[in-house]
Symmetry: C2
Subunit: 98 residues, 2 copies
């Protein structure tokens, strides 16, 4: 699964996805937050984790499509501090398209 | 760089990105096609290639933002045939958000 927490500034829910996260489980979490709040942020470090996250978004699209919800994703870079070391992570903002 | 061709059905330009593609070069290609046509499709097989493609989209957002163009990406699965073998690829449709 994915770790869940909230963004300090705007209370967007943040999911942290690792290379061991199961795409189907993350997709369920993404779909749930989108239904509730219309927006979720996924943070990823590394190619393996990004792969799981993008698969999860593709699966979540299928979960949400029957309800007429169409999601898009907006990738950007962000810096995170892990064990005192600054690393570059990828942030994927997932939003329902109006 | 990325291989360029056209989608058979709707003439959307298709970029094939590999794990050896340079994100900056792919970002330039993405930004160019978006400016011209408002839409481009990226096809990827494997986590390394996906990593380069998502970085390229994040970089392309920065190239296009000063022109007021905001791009989003829509991931889905697709089957491709390589050397007679069917494989599952990731398709990222990149669109300018209206």
């Amino acid at each position: 699964m994915a770790q869940r927490e909230h963004h300090k500034q705007d209370r967007t829910e943040v999911l942290r996805v690792s290379s061991k996260s199961k795409p189907n489980a993350v997709a369920g979490a993404v779909a749930g937050v989108i239904r509730e709040k219309g927006r979720v942020e996924i943070q990823i470090i590394g190619a393996g984790a990004l792969n799981q996250a993008i698969k999860a978004i593709a699966i979540a699209r299928g979960f949400l499509a029957p309800s007429g919800i169409d999601i898009v994703c907006i990738p950007s870079f962000c810096d995170v501090v892990i064990d005192g070391q600054e690393r570059t992570a990828i942030r994927l903002v997932v939003e329902a398209r109006s």
